[in-house]
């Protein structure tokens, strides 16, 4: 399975990966909404040292987002309800993307919309932008044209968005999936058929915290997105299921990654690269720390290239699955 016999020096591990056809120097990225557009984190480390910087989801117009309180800490996790506050695509193109390009960072630009048309406009506006490596399409947004149903929760709506985006751009596209669905494989299949070059997974889980004193929801937005180590088992499972069903589709894995060994779980489950999100709030240096820890972990385990571990958790598994009386999807 690995080659422990030939120990590898950490500096000799080949960390380069290809994600959706694009080469990155290493597999550790930031997560959308957890790194703004890279500028603040650049105070703590050089953002060009990462595989890529995934920027906060940007919309067509400037947005003020939700009222506060916008966050609540939860056991090994947190809820957020930011409401996609941001400057809008024009300001982003003027101020943020050029800055990332200047740093020689690879930008994965996350776009969000309230309608298929808005996503298409965003993709069009991003055409030919310097420094743009990949598009990440955040489809965990309410569709204003369908009574606010979240695109990511409906295979048809999700595919519509991806198809419209693909029509506007030649940049490879990652569709970002929500775990809040009955069958994530069917959504994944739909967006891949619609042209997605890869998948980002997972977005947050919908959650709520009630204040024991006011007996009212803590968040002004009532519900919020649950992230952090608490959700990591759900994320690893989702990556594992989708990689099992669509082994050739590249995955950017995320959800509760806090250490190099956490990242290793995602790679073994089938992700080609990972995003470090909430962990940044507790440790601004987390992305580079995760990268170093991952490199060391690969070396210790005798891997000469990070690409050798991608999907490894599936190798002897297939036999076991079919031997098992209950399907693996059964929760008890």
């Amino acid at each position: 399975m690995n080659t422990l016999e030939r120990p590898v020096r950490a500096t000799d591990v080949d960390m380069a990966v290809t994600l959706a056809g694009v080469r990155f120097p290493n597999p550790v990225f930031t997560a959308s909404g957890c790194a703004a557009a890279g500028r603040e984190l650049n105070q703590f480390f050089d953002v060009a040292d990462l595989g890529g910087v995934v920027t906060k989801s940007v919309m067509r117009e400037p947005r003020t987002g939700r009222p506060t309180p916008r966050m609540a800490e939860t056991p090994s996790g947190m809820l957020n309800s930011i409401g996609l506050q941001g400057p809008g695509i024009d300001a982003f193109l003027e101020r943020d993307l050029p800055w990332l390009a200047e740093q020689d960072a690879r930008a994965v630009v996350s776009i969000a919309g309230g309608s298929v048309e808005e996503y298409a406009t965003l993709a069009r506006k991003l055409r030919g932008a310097r420094g743009l490596a990949l598009l990440e399409v955040n489809i965990s947004c309410p569709n204003v044209e369908d009574r606010g149903q979240v695109f990511a929760c409906n295979a048809v709506a999700a595919a519509d968005v991806i198809r419209a985006v693909k029509r506007e751009t030649r940049i490879p596209v990652l569709a970002k999936l929500s775990p809040d669905v009955t069958d994530i494989v069917s959504i994944a299949t739909a967006v891949v058929e619609a042209g997605a070059n890869g998948l980002s997974m997972i977005n947050t889980l919908l959650g709520m915290v009630i204040d024991p004193d006011t007996l009212r929801p803590v968040l002004a937005g009532l519900t919020g997105g649950l992230s952090g180590p608490a959700i990591r088992p759900v994320a690893v499972r989702a990556v594992w299921q989708v990689h099992a069903a669509l082994p050739r589709v590249p995955i950017l894995g995320m959800g509760g990654i806090r250490s190099g060994l956490d990242a290793l779980q995602f790679l073994a489950a089938g992700a080609s690269a990972v995003s470090v999100g909430t962990a940044v709030f507790g440790d601004p240096g987390a992305p580079v720390r995760v990268l170093e820890e991952l490199r060391d972990a690969l070396a210790e385990r005798g891997f000469g290239s990070v690409r050798d571990v991608v999907g490894l958790a599936h190798r002897p598994a297939l036999a076991e699955v079919s031997e098992d009386a209950d399907p693996p999807g059964s929760p008890v």
Partner: protein, 276 residues
Amino acid sequence: MPTQVRNASVLQIEKLGSYHRLRVVAPAIAGAVRPGHFVAFAVGGAEGGLLLRRAFSIYAVGGGGSGGSSTIDVIFSVAGAGTRWLSERRPGDRLDVVGPLGRPFPLPVEPARCVLVGGGYGAAPLFLLAAALRKRDCRVDMVLGAATEDRLFGALDAKRVSDTAAITTDDGSAGLRGRVTDAMDPFLERADVVYACGPMPMLAAVSKRALAHDIPVHVAVEEAMACGIGVCMTCVLPVRGKDGVAHMVRSCVEGPVFPGDAVLFDDIGTIPAGAV
């Protein structure tokens, strides 16, 4: 520019009434501190269930041999699991601390008459501020208040660092019975600028009173923060910009110090109409 010090050692930790004073060694941070800056500590240990840092105003810096400072002091009360954990640290323990964070209090260019108003542990950052102001030959009047005597911080030291100090408690258990706003009026008569730190309603009241006297006021706000470094957008509050329009601005990087007349206190917890 903030720095992360992963292994700041605890030099001292002691109880001061209902507060704790914590001193850590972090020269890379201490050397850059200005009054109004804050720091953020990781709490609960690497495998703990608490993910987010806890923010504290910097109360003091010191200990550096040749001019520079090497230690940071913060004052905190136990509010929940994170501060409880912090209160259980012992000298020699290591802490992960990020700082200095935020924008400090703006200092007057010319000697000025300054009124510093603190509520509860909101008094903490006023001591560095008082020292900096007096170095610039400013007059410093201090008004410190709290609900009860045991929630007062720095009442004894206030006299030492200021020209006049007034103390208030809601229940009269120490100093004057009443609010800081009641006690600050006499000082306002002769003030050029007001600085305040404390709970949001207090900041709103102090700002209102200062502005009624046409005196500029700088308030240090406290909003729940997930990251403290400007990347998460949880800590926003509505602030009127130079353009006259309300913006949802990040209190961790664009604050915590704001002009009191710009903060839309009544709209906190909402998105004011017309905000962009």
